[in-house]
């Protein structure tokens, strides 16, 4: 063991070398989520573009499909395990895993541990994954230290309101990151959503199992969105946005719906 105190020269040389080498780029694997992959690929494209703009080396492990959350939430843990193992296989080697969804992110970060509680090997892998998983906006602020992401597109200001999805808020505990990024996005004026932290009523299969309750919650969320006066409503979860956006489109409301990544990517509403 060299003693640092006794080898000042070596220490100086070492320091100089560090200064000379560029920091290696941060590498992150995208877990795109099955909803984005199959129904809203454009959101995934925006995620990649924003990450690359921040200097991240993005890869997409192609073995991934679905994290298993819809099954897990319905009590089918045997089936959920199969998909979760597939996900672990796909993501085991990643430095960071970025998930553009609070809900799927919560599955990876929080619920895999419950799912694998009875299997030490899988639990160990789940725990290793837990520490590398970040929701997209959380990754930008907490890992990359991004504070401002000037929109890479039109600068015309538009009003945007942000719906904090429940799993992002109360499972992943991400509250500030998306709002901070939106606030600093340049092209955006963030306006307050009344009763923002009320669930929108999506809840995965809940939306079709109990549509009469889901629709009541949705109606209140739409009323809040209207009340905010925003031109665009955004969130970090395509599940909630499909539900909210599905009703906006049904009712022909003059509000556009975008994932936060699309706004940060400078997309127009």
């Amino acid at each position: 063991m060299p003693e640092w105190g006794g080898s000042a020269n070596l220490a100086r040389r070492f320091a100089r070398e560090i200064a000379l080498t560029q920091p290696p780029p941060i590498r992150a694997s995208l877990f795109v989520t099955c909803i984005i992959d199959q129904l809203h690929p454009e959101v995934g494209v925006s995620v990649v573009r924003v990450l690359r703009r921040c200097g991240v080396e993005v890869d997409f492990p192609e073995g991934q499909t679905c994290c298993g959350q819809p099954l897990y939430n319905s009590g089918f843990t045997q089936e959920a395990r199969k998909l979760a193992i597939r996900t672990l296989d796909a993501l085991d080697g990643s430095e960071y895993v970025v998930v553009p969804s609070g809900s799927c992110g919560a599955m990876l970060r929080v619920f895999y541990e419950d799912l694998f509680a009875d299997d030490p090997d899988l639990l160990e892998r789940a725990e290793a994954l837990r520490d590398r998983v970040y929701e997209f906006t959380e990754f930008l602020t907490d890992v990359l230290g991004v504070d401002t992401l000037p929109a890479d597109g039109p600068t015309a200001t538009r009003t945007v309101t942000y719906h904090p999805s429940c799993h992002l808020l109360r499972e992943m505990r991400v509250r500030e990151a998306p709002q901070q990024l939106l606030n600093n996005a340049g092209s955006v004026e963030l306006v307050e959503l009344p009763d923002a932290e009320q669930c929108c009523g999506f809840g995965g299969t809940f939306a079709v199992k109990y549509p009469h309750i889901s629709e009541e919650m949705l109606a209140d969320k739409l009323a809040s969105i209207r009340q905010s006066g925003a031109e665009t409503v955004t969130a970090c979860d395509m599940g909630c946005l499909m539900h909210i956006g599905g009703a906006i489109s049904r009712q022909n409301l003059p509000v556009s719906v975008q994932h936060v990544a699309q706004i940060l990517d400078g997309g127009e509403g």
Partner: protein, 481 residues
């Protein structure tokens, strides 16, 4: 035991969301309670609040883990103070104990303060069949007794009623002039009840806490009626679920900070009564006999299941109901039994059986608001998931209630997701099937089962022509976009 209507959750909740009066009542009460709760927390600061919650949680963890020990200590100390402790395995036994005491003592009139356990047991009914007059003295309980209804909230039993409905009820049932003034309504009830307090031979109360080291029963109210029930009649019967025991008075202090703030946003409750045994030789008043009935009625099943055990930490503050988006839309009665809302969706299946209450654990978006509000940090979403898992996978066929269709759908989904190739195939098939139904990429109407339950209020996107992974392979992986 109280009637169980938990199988009717779907029709009951469908009716509830269409009930305009209920909507009004829920809106006012829900936001009111939750607003004051948040203010009360802000006042002591989040950090302090978290400390208190943690303390309360540890006390409950410890006590429930050593429940047999503390119940034995409680029983010893109730007896040492001159009272009698009874253990009831189930509702029938608890009811039999109380009705036997009443019979032996020739009881004709009972006054009651609020007790959820007595609702759970269906005790009033049993006593009435015995020819005893039972009078609820908590204002909310009094209202629903007049209306012949059941409570719809843990703390505010008549929360489902608007002020106008109560005024109407009083005018009809008591022959008083119609008045929507709360003070006036409380006064009317007081006058109607005063005579009963004097007549009653037996007072029945619930218990917010049972203190093992002193053998005390603690009740917390805002009306003072509880105190009259426990001190004026010659017999006092306290009813409590066995999870209500806490070790010491020091522990009580922790809960006295949490309960009023969580329930109503009050810093301190208006009345706290501690009852330790019957009247002593030098007491001026108080009952001649004190009985404590400690009720199991399914709680030991919850205790045995490590995944559900923490539901016994509940102090019935109602905060989870006040923040629950489902409870706030459907009200308490839709849940079909005594304990509604998020905690009810755990406790009810536990006490009446999972198969009887299939919908309750599923009728939740798992939004987590309940867990954040709970003063003892009960992880309600996790327990809901556990109950869903039992429904889908339990070895016990009584508990495995999932339908074959749901099972097949789950397996189908798992298969499609089991490889990128099948997923691709699934998308293309899905697209081929749905694209003809769509206009500008959206499905507006369809008769397809399940899908139609989505599209009745929302458009649905058609699966993308090119998936993200296609675009990754073709463009993004090569640096383009």
């Amino acid at each position: 035991m109280a009637e169980v209507a938990t199988r009717e959750f779907v029709p009951a909740s469908q009716a509830a969301v269409r009930d305009e009066q209920l909507r009004q009542a829920l809106r006012r009460a829900g936001s009111g309670f939750d607003g004051t709760r948040r203010e009360a927390i802000a006042e002591v600061t989040e950090d302090v609040w978290e400390d208190w919650r943690q303390q309360a949680r540890s006390i409950k963890e410890h006590t429930i883990a050593h429940l047999d020990y503390y119940l034995a200590m409680l029983e010893r100390n109730v007896r040492a103070a001159g009272g009698q402790a009874h253990f009831a395995r189930d509702a029938a036994q608890a009811n039999a104990i109380v009705s036997e005491i009443a019979r032996q003592q020739g009881v004709r009139t009972v006054t009651k303060s609020k007790s959820m356990v007595s609702e759970e047991l269906g005790l009033n009914h049993v006593l009435e069949e015995q020819g005893i007059d039972v009078f609820e003295t908590d204002l909310g309980e009094y209202i629903i007794q007049l209306a012949e209804e059941t409570p719809s909230h843990l703390v505010a039993p008549a929360l489902h009623k608007t002020r106008g409905q109560v005024a109407q009820l009083f005018a009809e049932q008591l022959g008083v002039p119609y008045s929507e003034d709360i003070e006036e309504m409380a006064r009317i009830a007081r006058v109607a009840l005063r005579q009963k307090f004097l007549e009653a031979d037996m007072g029945i109360s619930g218990a917010n806490f049972l203190v093992a080291e002193t053998g005390s029963l603690v009740i917390i109210t805002n009306e003072g009626n509880g105190r009259l029930c426990t001190s004026a009649p010659r017999i006092h019967v306290g009813l409590a679920g066995m999870e209500k025991v806490i070790p010491s008075l020091q522990d009580l202090a922790v809960f006295l900070r949490l309960l009023p703030r969580s329930a109503t946003g009050q810093r301190i409750t208006s009345y706290m009564s501690m009852v330790t045994g019957p009247r002593r030789a030098d007491d001026e008043d108080g009952p001649e006999e004190f009985h404590l009935v400690i009720v199991d009625n399914g709680r030991s099943r919850l205790l045995q299941d490590p995944a559900l055990r923490e539901s016994l930490y509940c102090i019935r503050c109602g905060a989870c109901l006040n923040v629950c988006p489902i409870y706030q839309r459907v009200g308490g009665h839709a849940y079909g039994w005594v304990y509604p809302g998020p905690i009810g969706s755990i406790v009810t299946p536990g006490l009446v059986g999972v198969a009887q209450a299939k919908d309750l654990p599923n009728a939740s978006t798992l939004c987590g608001a309940c867990r954040d509000a709970c003063p003892v940090q009960i992880n309600i979403p996790r327990m809901l998931l556990h109950l869903r898992r039992q429904q889908a996978e339990s070895d016990d066929t009584n508990q495995r209630t999932v339908s074959d269709t749901d099972k097949a759908l789950a397996q189908g989904f798992a298969t499609v997701m089991s490889s990128p190739w099948l997923l691709r195939l699934g998308r293309l098939v899905g697209r081929a099937l749905t694209a003809p139904l769509a206009r500008s990429g959206k499905i507006r109407q369809t008769r397809l089962p399940l899908v139609s339950r989505w599209t009745r209020a929302r458009d649905l996107p058609v699966p993308a022509g090119r998936s993200f992974r296609d675009r990754w392979r073709d463009e993004l992986s090569k640096g383009g976009n």
